[in-house]
Symmetry: C3
Subunit: 158 residues, 3 copies
């Protein structure tokens, strides 16, 4: 439904899964592989706790304008290991892919300092415990936004 300033849709919850990833595995790759295996089209990360290494993520350059381009972002890679403090985001069908993950991460350094951003991928260090819930919904897809420069969810009503 469209309203002033936002779009929204009601959804129901489908199956719920607890997933434990093995050290060395790639987080985003694992989540994607899991979703294909269980035929989960829409999902949300409900909880994530564990530790990672070789985390690759991006931040947006200070003062950047839309659309986001590669010149307007900073890519970070941290060897770690790091405590995985939060992982948020969703899986939605994409334009060119059946499943498109949009995930943001925060991780804690040795010093206790927290860093994070838009997650490219990270390897599981000691363990990683994720709760993922399937969303029962239709008519939502992630497309490249020309004005925003980034993949963005669109409702079929838009």
């Amino acid at each position: 439904m469209t309203v002033e300033g936002f779009w929204y849709k009601e959804y129901r919850e489908g199956r719920r899964f607890i997933i434990k990833m093995i050290p060395g595995e790639n987080l985003v790759e694992c989540i994607t592989k899991f979703a294909y295996k269980e035929n989960v089209q829409y999902a949300v990360i409900m909880s994530a706790v564990g530790s990672v290494k070789n985390a690759r993520f991006r931040g947006i350059k200070s003062g950047a304008r839309l659309p986001l381009t590669s010149a307007r972002i900073n890519t970070h890679e941290l060897e770690g290991p790091l405590e995985l403090l939060s992982l948020t985001g969703n899986i939605v069908p994409g334009e060119d892919v059946l499943l498109d993950c949009h995930l943001h991460i925060t991780v804690g350094k040795s010093s206790g300092e927290v860093i994070g951003g838009h997650l490219f991928d990270a390897q599981v260090f000691a363990t990683c415990e994720i709760l993922l819930t399937e969303l029962v919904v239709a008519g939502i897809e992630r497309h490249h936004s020309k004005s925003g420069g980034v993949p963005t969810i669109y409702f079929s009503e838009e």
Copy 2:
């Protein structure tokens, strides 16, 4: 129910919504507007991912005591843009308002450094995708706590 050190109540989940906010919109204002429109009295933010700019939030001054007063908090405003890494909190009926949002935010800077605190408001940058769940519960309200100095939820049994 009261017990030693904490109060609690069982709740059920009502409707669940996926909300997409348009660039330039105010996050807290949008969530409040949405809740009024759909007549959601109690809710929790289940997931949030996106990017923001002009984020205004507060931290508590080191060594501060209760009650919290304006002299005991620090207000921050960051132009950004910033990756939205987490948004947590709830909506509960307030003393003087039908709906009172209590939201905390973490955002990632260009450098990967994460900052955050008690959210006043922030503007959507490229996009903002929020999952919000209605709580079916009664007998909970947010009142100003004299001893704490901040709006705090109270159970009718207290």
Copy 3:
């Protein structure tokens, strides 16, 4: 079920609780006490918002290898007070205890800087509002992992 790189299991959601903790109480102690009182064996933290002081948590030393030992972690203690920005993790039956909490925290300092890690415990400052969901599942336990050095969930199928 076992697959390449990860283990997983479907679960259902049981009772859902909103918990308000009193200033001065210990967060992890309260959650544990609550779970025993309500006979919750498996649970996940769905949302947490509030403020804490005397937060004790750990980070993993940069460059550390598995298994994690006490020499490979850094313990931090911050008096604060601090805004509680996120609390993620789960409760699962342990080897020697009926209930074992695995929780990670992020908190915001006066400066807006966010720190965090694997939570030992923290005291509630002004208030703490937690949503906790019971998981209906069986055949999962947290055991000490010899290769990882840390308590890790195991599925009975492993």
